[in-house]
């Protein structure tokens, strides 16, 4: 059994009709419920539910407070390499884009770690372009050795790997895995990833599950909104989260709602996903899976991020650089995408305090 079995049953279903058949009465009924079924989740993602966003927000806020309190975890991404073997049309790191590539030496990793630690951040995620050679298990293990001195939790967002590789990395202290499916639509997926190992839809789809099996403490998934109908993508991504949460009770499942951002290519999003659309997706997910993490990156603007804080978000990045070596020596290389919120960690901390939230810099200790 893989999530692909769930996807297979869904892929040819009349989503468009389903979403449009939902009535306001259906939405009101769902909003009175404590526990949501899959079809309730679909109801909250429908056009009819757009008129109930405020009610959804109030409820999402209450549910999140109950489970997570007035806290917000802060983390940073650390880009270690921009070598990539794939051709994702929407990403600057695509092998088709020509720019001088680099990966960090251990000395440089240490410099980056010091720069990040100086900001007070204790949780980080190692990011790289997808290349088994340039971001090998061996290279990542060496990086981890350096990072362990500075951080209490280190996650991974690199190329998908086999379960055995994840087990090795978990053994050395990696505790979190992030992997985005980009789009759950198999045909669109193939069209966007024309060359490279990323073409294998099923291998990527099963990656979060391999992470759970390998003992990752938390696994974050998501769809890159803008590549396909956002309602459908959010629905399937939510079901994916539900599938993992049910099957792997020990793993904390997180969801992210990234939208396509400007990049070095000329890719234009297929679908324009408005702020309202993204908020609806986030709220519906929160009400469907009250115990799941929700992560918001600096892809979003400061104005929007401020407003998103009480809507169910549990984890935010702050002061991110999406360039390799971007903390110690900013603006020397190609960034993966443009970030929108350039405020410092201190500014984000102040903002959280002002909003009545406690910034949590540390939530786990590598033991």
């Amino acid at each position: 059994m893989s999530f692909y079995n769930v996807y297979e049953k869904l892929k040819d279903q009349p989503f468009h009709t389903w979403f449009n058949e939902v009535t306001t009465t259906d939405v009101e009924k769902v909003l009175r419920k404590d526990r949501l079924t899959e079809s309730d989740y679909l109801t909250l993602l429908s056009p009819a539910a757009e008129g109930y966003i405020e009610e959804m927000a109030q409820k999402a806020h209450r549910v999140t407070l109950q489970h997570f309190g007035y806290t917000m975890q802060l983390f940073l991404p650390l880009y270690v390499s921009d070598y990539c073997v794939n051709t994702c049309k929407y990403c600057s790191f695509s092998v088709d884009n020509v720019f001088p590539r680099r990966r960090l030496t251990m000395e440089e990793v240490e410099e980056e770690a010091q720069a990040i630690a100086a900001m007070g951040i204790e949780q980080i995620i190692i990011l790289s372009g997808e290349s088994r050679i340039h971001s090998s298990v061996d290279y990542l293990t060496k990086i981890l050795k350096v990072l362990k001195k500075y951080f209490s939790s280190v996650g991974l967002e690199v190329q998908p790997m086999d379960r055995e590789d994840y087990e090795k990395l978990v053994g050395s202290g990696i505790d979190a895995l992030t992997v985005f499916q980009e789009t759950y639509d198999e045909n669109i997926y193939r069209a966007l990833h024309t060359k490279g190992p990323k073409r294998f839809y099923n291998y990527r789809l099963d990656t979060p599950e391999r992470g759970c099996q390998a003992g990752m403490r938390s696994v974050t998934i998501g769809a890159l909104l803008g590549l396909n109908d956002w309602r459908k993508e959010s629905y399937i991504a939510g079901l994916h989260g539900h599938y993992l949460q049910d099957k792997y009770l020990e793993t904390e499942i997180g969801m992210s709602f990234p939208r396509v951002q400007p990049n070095a290519g000329s890719f234009q999003p297929e679908v324009h996903v408005t702020d309202k659309n993204m908020v609806q997706a986030m709220l519906a997910f929160r009400l469907f899976l009250p115990r799941a993490g929700i992560i918001v990156s600096t892809r979003e603007t400061p104005q929007l991020r401020d407003q998103l804080i009480p809507l169910g978000v549990t984890k935010m990045s702050a002061s991110s650089s999406t360039e390799v070596g971007g903390y110690a020596q900013p603006e020397e290389t190609q960034s993966q995408f443009e970030i929108s919120d350039e405020r410092s960690v201190e500014e984000i901390r102040q903002l959280l305090h002002k909003k009545g939230y406690q910034p949590v810099m540390k939530d786990w200790q590598i033991v």
Binding site: L65, G69, Y70, L249
Partner: protein
């Protein structure tokens, strides 16, 4: 009327234990703890800066309380033991609330792993208070392993659903010899009072205080409720209906001093 709770030889005046999670900021947490009059405060070791650098949560907990670090975040007995050792090594004392939660969906404790961790940590000299799903045999094993108190949940953590597992907890109160501290699920002061009236030795409240609109006022309310519930229990609330002496005895005539046949 002195009525201290004794755990591991330590006399505790307040039967309200509090937690440090979910508060909007440390000042509010500090003030709420003060107003709760709580003397035992639990803190997640995973959130504490163990290097001692930087300002962290522990420095904002009132000095006069007994710190009870917890192993939240642990998903196995082995992790709980390692976390407890880290806490002790960083100077957090020898009390520890064991939390082993391997289910991230409902956050229910894993009793089997908790028993293992209790055994291991008692052997290492910790004062161990295990958080558990109310189950008599599991509680007995924890007691046998040397737990200083047992902390069953009233309903799932953070649920504010009250003492849903009342019958199970009542049995534990009757059968377990170490103190029973009802931990998790208490959402209202009246529910804390209810736990105390039932005969629980103490309650631990976090979410209901930390996420209240006014955590300081809510902490006060819980303090009062716990005192009221305890006083009612000591006064003999339930047994009084069966055992207490009636003001006009019906069978007094059978005793020599009674009015009976004389």
């Amino acid at each position: 009327m002195k009525d201290p709770l004794v755990i591991a030889g330590e006399e505790i005046e307040s039967r309200l234990f509090t937690g440090t999670g979910k508060f909007a900021n440390h000042n509010e947490m500090h003030e709420a703890i003060e107003q709760s009059h709580s003397q035992v405060v639990t803190v997640a070791i995973r959130r504490v800066d163990l290097t001692g650098s930087g300002k962290h949560i522990v420095s904002d907990i009132p000095k006069k309380v007994t710190l009870m670090p917890n192993t939240s975040g642990a998903r196995t007995a082995e992790e709980a033991v390692r976390i407890a050792r880290l806490g002790k090594a960083s100077g957090m004392g020898s009390w520890v609330k064991i939390e082993v939660i391997s289910d991230q969906k409902y956050l229910l404790p894993d009793n089997e792993e908790t028993i293992k961790a209790t055994k291991a940590l008692v052997e290492e000299g910790f004062v161990v208070l295990p958080y558990m799903s109310p189950d008599l045999m599991a509680a007995k094993r924890m007691e046998e392993a040397g737990a200083a108190a047992i902390m069953p949940l009233g309903s799932p953590i953070g649920s504010n659903r009250g003492i849903r597992l009342k019958e199970m907890i009542r049995i534990m109160i009757d059968e377990i010899h170490v103190p029973i501290v009802v931990d998790a699920g208490i959402g209202r002061p009246s529910e804390a009072a209810e736990a105390m009236e039932m005969g629980a030795d103490a309650v631990l409240v976090n979410t209901a205080i930390a996420t209240a609109d006014d955590p300081v006022a809510m902490a006060k309310a819980f303090d009062m409720a716990v005192r009221a519930g305890r006083l009612a229990y000591r006064t003999g609330l339930e047994p009084s209906s069966i055992q207490a002496k009636a003001s006009s005895p019906l069978t007094g005539f059978l005793t020599p001093t009674g009015g009976g046949d004389q």
